[in-house]
Each structure stands twice: as C-alpha cells, then as structure tokens.
C-alpha cells in the first residue's frame, strides 16, 4: 500500500515532482562538475608540485642567506690594467643557488632521524656562471661590462649536487632517464652497495639542456674547470622545472668549496597526517630555516591554474551552495504546497485512524524518491559536465618559482641571449632572483565514487529536508480543521 500510494501520488503530480527532481538534478550535477573540476585543479597542482619537489617529497628545507652576505660578484683578478687591455679572459663562478645559505649535512641526518620522517636527503643547488670577454681600457676599478666598450658574454647553468644513494626522495625521484638508462641504473645500484661509487665525476644532464648544448651520454661537460662525463640524460616531466646538470653531492660540494654542506633538504613524512608535525619539528631543529610543505608551495603557484583554483574554491563553492539552497528551497516549497493541496486527503486519513507519523512517512517517502530521481539525473548531468570540462576547458598555465630559490627581489642586471653556439646565456635575474617557470597544463575533471556518493547524499538530503518540512506541515494538521477546510 505504501509504495503503491507513493508511486501513484508522484505520477499524479508529475509536473511538480519533475520540477523538484530537475532542480535537485541541476544542483547535484553542478556539485559533481565543480567538485570534479576542483579535483582536476588539485591534480594539476599536484603535477606542478611534483615537478618542483619530486615524487614523494612532502617538505623542503632551505635557509635564505643573510642580507649583504655573499660579497657581490667577483670573478677573480683586480681591475684591468693598461697592460691587460685587449687581452681576453675567462672566469667561472659557482655559487649557492638563489641566495640560499648552506646547511650542514649533519642536519640532514638529524632530520632523517626525526620520528615521523620516512626519508630525507640533502642537495646542493648551485649556479655556475661563466664569463668570457676581452679587457677594455676603462677607468681603473671598473669591473663590470656596463662601462666597457669591449663586450663580454655571460652564460650560466644550474647544477644540483644529489646523493645517488637516496633515489626515492629529492629532485631525481620523479626523473625519467631518457638516455643511458642501463648505465644510470647500474650507477645508482653501485652507489647503493658502495656509497664511494657515488663520488665519480659523472653527471646526469637534463634532456632539454642536453638538446640545447648537443650533449649525449658519454659527452663531457665542464663545470668551473672540472670535467664530468655525461652518464645519461634525464627528464623530470613535461611540467618539470629541472636543474640543468646533476652531479654527485660530494663533487658539488668540492665545486662550491663547501664540504659537508647542502642548501636544500628534501623530506618525506611517514604519512600525510604527519606532515604538519614534521614541519614543526624541523622548524624547531633549524630555527632559521624556511620549512615549506606542498600546501605552502601550492599557495605560491600563480597563473591561470591559480585562477582556476580560486574559481573552484571560492566561486565554485558559492555557486554550489547557492544552487543547492535554491534547489532545496524549491523542493521544500513545492512539497509544502502539495501538502496544502492535500489537506482533505490527510484529514480523511487521520479520521480513518492513520497516525501522523505514517502520513509524515508517506510525504517523506515521496520527497526522498524525488531526491533519488534528482540524484540519478544529477549524476548524468554531472558526468556530462565533467566530460565537457575535460574536453572544452582552455589550457591552463602555472607560474611557479624554481625549487630551492629564494624570494629576493627580481631585477635583471643583464639580458639573456642565445649565442651562436647554442649555449643559453641566461639573464642574471635567473641567478639572483627567483626563477619562474610557466608550465602548461590541461584541466580535467576526474570523478570518483566519493564525489558521486556525496552528490546522491545531497540529493537525498534535499528530498529529506523538503519531506520533513512537508511532513511537519501534514503532522500539524488538525483533522477537524482539515476536514472543515476541505468541506
């Protein structure tokens, strides 16, 4: 009797029931689409963060150099003398990247010994600047090229000193070896069994940098006068902000004349819930350090990805809330109106001895069924919406600061240029200010059972709220009053 009565009643007022179901379906569809798009934004952010950190890295630790430290830029030698005028020169300078100060490698061990830390590794990120030119005959004391009539060229590249014994965490954890895979793998394995094997003058070169400089496995690269053999080429990912050259940490420390030092520590927490604790513990251990989590870094991502993220988290959420409220309101209004039209019916049922709870159950059941129909339609709309977002969304870009670089003010000293031999002459701004990378991304709207479940729960909740309001109205009806009004 219950279901027959319920089904026929819904059929009788099919138009109103359809309106409620469609209202809930639109709301549910919107929730699914927006939540899916928000998940897509998170996935995209995750891609960006992975490209900065490497897979599995939860926290990075860096320490900014004190203002005024570093002593400016000197490439050796004093001001040119008249006897040097016209002579060519070549200078190399290797310095800690992005105004970072170094941290003792013992701190890496201390961090890795923290309770909730699964793994930690230290890297030494360096900038290698190579200047060549001809001494001019400028006034004594002039060391910069700006006053010189004789041009010189500046080229720079980044070098990361990595510990091959820690392949699971750090910048190479997400790298794909695109050339020399076998030897690279053998190298990593050898380092694992015998750490001293990691001190060879071998280098991995980023595939883009290798392409620009015509490098391949077996080529030689010179960093500040030290020759390294290219063991293989690596590609971190399409979205990666890679270093140009990776060398063993011990060799990087020698190049920088900083034995036993690192300037970035990559940390993996034992669980996602432990990240905050680990962050606090590291901050306690290294009070001057900047301890950055993925969540912190996500806030530094700008560009259209950031805009999409803001849209998803602010506008999207408000839109969802507004549409849900409108749908719930519509459902409640139509259900209450339906109860008002059925006063005689409910009065008669009460006269026949139907308890109010049974009548409330009838109204509630009708509303929940409308909610379920709305939920089912909403899933269809939501899946369609998510499909359209994935297919039609314009490409996004994320602009991020390079990993491990400081936050000093940007301001180019020199413009960068590409020389005829293909060597990239990077602007000094890259060296002394946070380098930025714009990463193209495609927005998707991945759906999960959780999202669909949430949407159906919302639709049922909408039906329940409407049913409770309608049922409450029906329960309050006094049979005498109901029958009098009807008569």
């Amino acid at each position: 009797m219950y279901f027959r009565y319920l089904g026929r009643e819904l059929r009788r007022r099919a138009r109103s029931a359809s309106l409620v179901a469609i209202g809930l379906a639109v709301a549910v569809g919107l929730v699914i689409t927006v939540t899916g798009a928000a998940s897509g934004v998170k996935v995209a952010q995750g891609q960006v963060l992975r490209s900065l950190y490497g897979v599995g890295t939860d926290i990075t630790v860096t320490e900014a150099a004190a203002p005024g430290s570093g002593g400016g830029f000197r490439f050796g030698g004093g001001p040119p003398t008249r006897s040097q005028a016209g002579q060519s020169f070549s200078r190399d300078r290797v310095s800690s990247a992005g105004g970072l100060t170094t941290i003792s490698a013992t701190k890496v061990t201390a961090v890795s010994n923290l309770k909730a830390v699964a793994a930690a590794t230290g890297t030494l990120d360096l900038n290698s600047i190579h200047v060549t030119g001809t001494f001019g005959g400028g006034p004594p004391g002039s060391t910069s090229g700006s006053n010189s009539t004789h041009p010189f060229s500046v080229s720079s590249f980044t070098v990361a000193g990595v510990n091959p014994a820690d392949p699971g965490v750090g910048p190479l954890s997400s790298a794909n070896v695109t050339a020399g895979a076998k030897v690279v793998s053998a190298w990593f394995k050898r380092v694992e069994s015998s750490p001293s094997a990691g001190n060879q003058l071998l280098a991995l070169v980023d595939s883009s940098y290798a392409k620009q400089n015509s490098l391949k496995a077996g080529s030689a690269v010179t960093i500040a006068g030290t020759k390294f053999t290219v063991l293989g080429l690596v590609s971190t990912s399409a979205t990666a902000s890679a270093e140009d050259i990776y060398v063993p940490l011990s060799e990087a420390q020698k190049l920088a004349s900083d034995p036993g030092k690192v300037n970035t520590i990559f940390v993996t927490a034992s669980s996602a819930s432990a990240i905050a604790t680990v962050q606090t513990e590291i901050q306690h251990l290294l009070p001057k350090a900047t301890v950055t989590t993925a969540a912190d870094l996500a806030n530094q991502v700008t560009g259209s990805l950031s805009t999409a993220s803001s849209l998803a988290t602010s506008l999207g959420v408000w839109l969802e809330v507004l549409v849900l409220l409108a749908a719930f309101g519509l459902a409640a209004l139509l259900t209450t109106a339906s109860v008002n039209r059925r006063v005689r019916e409910f009065g008669t049922l009460k006269a026949m001895g139907w308890h109010s709870r049974r009548i409330v159950g009838q109204v509630l059941g009708e509303s929940v069924v409308q909610g379920l129909i709305g939920g089912a339609l909403g899933i269809g709309l939501g899946v369609l919406g998510a499909f359209l977002v994935t297919k039609l969304a314009p490409p996004l870009s994320a602009t991020v600061g390079a990993a491990g670089l400081g936050t000093g003010p940007a301001g180019p000293f020199f413009g960068g240029s590409r020389s005829g031999n293909g060597v990239t002459h990077r602007p000094f701004a890259h060296t002394f200010a946070p380098a930025t990378h714009t990463i193209p991304l495609h927005l998707t709207a991945p759906l999960s059972l959780g999202i669909l479940g949430l949407a159906v729960a919302l639709a049922i909740a909408g039906g329940l709220i409407a049913g409770i309001l309608g049922g409450w109205r029906a329960a309050r009806l006094q049979p005498a009053e109901a029958l009098r009004r009807a008569e």
Partner: protein, 244 residues
C-alpha cells in the same frame, strides 16, 4: 454508548470568538440511528466531529463507552478512531490515486491487518455495497453514487461501532440519494451499529427514530413518529428506493 454532558465548543475566528455548540447534552444508545438537522453553520458538523473524536470540546465531556474522549492523548484518540468510527463525507473524500478497493483497504491500514486479509475484506465490503465489479476502478472513473458507495464500504470495512456521516447524500441526485439512504439503513440494521447522519434534508432526517435539531449551537430532539425504526429497533427494511 455516547454520553455528552454540557458540551460547548468555541472557535477563535480572527479577533472574535464563535460559539459553535452551547451546553449540549445528549445520550446515544448503542445501535441507535440519529439524524442531525439544522441550518448551515449552526453546529451540526461540530457535533459530528466531537462524536468522531476529531475535535475536543472547549468545555463539557464526551463519553464514549465510558471513556472521556476530551481527556485522551492525541495518539489514543487516533486509535479510538481507527477501531470504532467509520466516516462518510459529503464529498466522498476518496484518494484519487487509489482504486476503489485500495481506498477501502486504506481504512484497515491503521489496524495492522495483514495485506491478504485487508484485500479480501475490502473486496467483501465493496460487494456488500454492490460494487464488486468496480473494485479496480479509480474514483475518477466512478459516478457520484458509486463513489459514495465506496466511501460507505470504506467506513464499514473495519466493522466500526459507529458510523458518522456528514451530508452523505448532499451531492447526489434524487434517485441516487434514495439508493444511498436505503443502503445505509440496511447496513445499520444488519450490523446493529450506531449511526449518526447529518443532513439538511428533512425527508432523510425523518428516516431515523430521533432527530437532533441544532440551532445556534443549542440542541433539541425530535421524535419521528412516522418512522418504523422508532417502533422497532431492528425492523425489516424494504430494499426499495426511498421515496423522497
């Protein structure tokens, strides 16, 4: 048995108060057939609602089988209604989405009778009012007279102690009115239940041994001498339509 003692019912209407019944007292024996007459808005339906435990008096007592209905909790009143009273309304008040059989069955739902028994009893009740072949029809597919028969079957199906009918023939043509009156009289006699019928129609009212006349909320009783029922509580009734 009903025993109404000094019943008053006052309604709040806007800023004013309307007294629907004033100090009404009445004793109604089990198996009695009473008709209620009076001008519109003078308290007939109010009396019926109080008798059917659908309303409570403002003052006074409505005793039914020794229980003060005004003192019972709402849930107890619902149970009293479910077990004892069958209602027949002027507008039939059938559920438009349920068939004739299902409408009758709905009266048995509160009694927690198993579905199979409910169905059998509702079909039997429909057969008793001559509508067995219309059991699967929806109210919209039935004439006014047929709908009122379904409503009567719905009132009778649970074998109530009391049938309360509010203008049961008010919306019917003369021929159908006669058929319905005869049907109700027959059922009353066969089942021996108490029956109270509110009517505007004097010819219908005179079918009962006693008529309660309500004017301005006060009640007076009239004996209908021309009614055979007043001479014999269980007279044999003609199945012929009543001439009215």
């Amino acid at each position: 048995m009903y025993e109404l003692t000094n019943i008053s019912r006052v309604y709040q209407k806007g800023r004013g108060r309307v007294t629907a019944l004033k100090e009404v007292s009445l004793v109604l024996q089990d198996g009695e057939f009473l008709t209620v007459q009076g001008p519109t808005g003078h308290g007939k339906t109010t009396l019926l609602l109080l008798l059917g435990a659908l309303d409570r008096p403002t003052s006074g007592k409505v005793n039914f089988d020794g229980r003060d209905l005004g003192a019972l909790a709402e849930s107890q009143l619902v149970d009293v209604r479910a077990q004892n009273f069958g209602f027949v309304f002027q507008n039939y008040n059938l559920m438009p989405t349920l068939t004739a059989a299902e409408n009758v069955e709905a009266a048995l739902v509160p009694l927690k009778i198993p579905t199979g028994q409910r169905r059998a009893r509702s079909l039997a009740a429909l057969a008793e009012v001559g509508l067995a072949e219309r059991a699967a029809h929806f109210p919209g597919e039935l004439s006014g007279g047929e709908q009122q028969r379904v409503a009567i079957a719905r009132a009778l199906v649970k074998a109530p102690k009391v049938i309360l009918a509010d203008e049961p023939t008010g919306n019917l043509d003369e021929v159908t009115r006669g058929e319905i009156v005869v049907l109700m009289e027959r059922l009353w006699k066969e089942r021996g239940m108490t029956m109270v019928v509110v009517t505007h129609d004097t010819r219908v009212a005179r079918r009962a041994p006693r008529t309660a006349i309500i004017t301005n909320g006060t009640l007076s009783l009239r004996m209908n001498r021309d009614k055979a029922a007043s001479d014999d509580p269980k007279p044999a009734m003609s199945a012929e339509p009543v001439e009215i």
